[in-house]
């Protein structure tokens, strides 16, 4: 668990550094990939119109990379914090193991959705790329984290009420 969280944080830092180091190259690549697919991005062949469309897509492409960096850093810490709580307070192995597994897998996978979304924008456009990233990554992995957190919250609440009754 700890290794996963640390690797995720390392990925966030490498991603952030690469984003800065290769900003120009990444922007050029994304722009040329978008220009090669005018129908996908609704380009009309008029510079005054298309520049605005390309600008929005490039801003979102950059935002996706930034959000990956941000979420990977944050979720690394969330994995450490929440699995520590689960390991400490979920006494039954039957519930502790799946909660820790869900928190780890969900937390590590969720930020990759932003990286995927960024990569899909030049090929599929903003909305289609977002839909693919949602169904492939954000919903399953984010859902796993949410389910695990509720499960953990329920267990803790159950434990508290049991103790207070006793």
């Amino acid at each position: 668990v700890l290794l996963t969280a640390v690797v995720l944080i390392v990925c966030a830092e490498v991603g952030g550094a690469s984003m800065v180091r290769f900003k120009l190259e990444l922007t050029r690549w994304a722009r040329s990939a978008m220009l090669a697919r005018p129908a996908v991005h609704g380009l009309v062949g008029v510079r005054d119109v298309d520049e605005r469309v390309l600008d929005e897509a490039l801003v979102k492409f950059d935002a996706g990379l930034r959000l990956f960096h941000l979420h990977a850093e944050g979720m690394g810490l969330v994995i450490i914090a929440t699995t520590t709580v689960a390991a400490t307070l979920a006494s039954s192995p039957a519930s502790r193991r799946p909660i820790i597994a869900l928190l780890t897998v969900g937390g590590a996978g969720y930020p990759l959705g932003y990286l995927l979304w960024s990569g899909l924008i030049p090929y599929y456009g903003l909305e289609r790329g977002k839909t693919i990233a949602e169904w492939l990554v954000w919903i399953p992995f984010g859902g796993a984290t949410i389910v695990a957190l509720w499960w953990l919250a329920g267990l803790i609440a159950w434990r508290m009420t049991g103790r207070q009754r006793a």
Partner: protein, 211 residues
């Protein structure tokens, strides 16, 4: 130890509630605020320099900026000597003439976009949704340019300004994202925008004014 457990439990429950009770649309993907393009940026630089009485700065910004390059590139569709006249006005520190020529240039840009929009949104091979999106994007581009000079237009000819804005509003109503979108009716207001602006350019050309 029991007391600590209870506190830790309460804190973690609160954290879990805060984390999970967020809005359903939780995938934050950033917001986009359209920025100026290089032509509108250069226009604003020149305009503010002229307003500040810094004509030497405005002339340098014009000579080295993308606005002049764009004027040259579109010379065929612009009134004759528009660029040379604008440069001469800047050199002569004639603020009113600079404003008039810039107004003509941006009105011409908006006119050409309106004509192209009318042409593209009438394409029967394109679906209704695609034509609606194309219409929205063209209207955004038209407004971005026309909005820069609307005040100057209204000062000279309020009727033209009102007619352009009414036609723009009408066109905007036909490309709303809601189910009321009707790109089939876009042609009329788009052609009206083009006609109104063409008349403005014609009436503002130096030949007509005898300058």
């Amino acid at each position: 130890v029991r007391g600590r457990d209870v506190v830790a439990g309460r804190v973690s429950t609160a954290i879990a509630l805060v984390v999970t009770l967020g809005p359903v649309e939780a995938h934050h993907v950033g917001a986009y605020i359209p920025s100026d393009n290089e032509i509108t940026t250069n226009f604003k630089q020149i305009k503010f320099s002229v307003q500040a009485g810094k004509f030497d700065v405005a002339l340098r910004l014009f000579d080295t900026g993308p606005l002049r390059a764009d004027m040259r590139a579109r010379a065929a569709t612009l009134p004759p000597r528009l660029e040379a006249g604008l440069r001469a006005a800047l050199a002569a520190s004639d603020g009113a003439e600079v404003e008039r020529r810039l107004m003509v240039f941006f009105a011409a840009l908006a006119r050409d976009l309106a004509l192209e929009a009318a042409h593209q949104t009438a394409d029967p091979k394109l679906s209704r949704d695609v034509r609606t999106v194309i219409g929205q994007r063209f209207l955004e581009a038209i407004w971005r340019y026309y909005n820069l000079v609307d005040f100057a237009v209204a000062q000279r000819d309020d009727t033209t300004s009102v007619a352009a804005r009414l036609a723009f509003d009408e066109a905007g109503g036909y490309v709303k994202s809601s189910g009321a979108a009707d790109p089939d009716r876009l042609q009329q207001p788009l052609r009206r925008i083009a006609q109104v602006l063409a008349a403005l350019i014609e009436s503002s050309t130096p030949a007509r004014r005898g300058s």
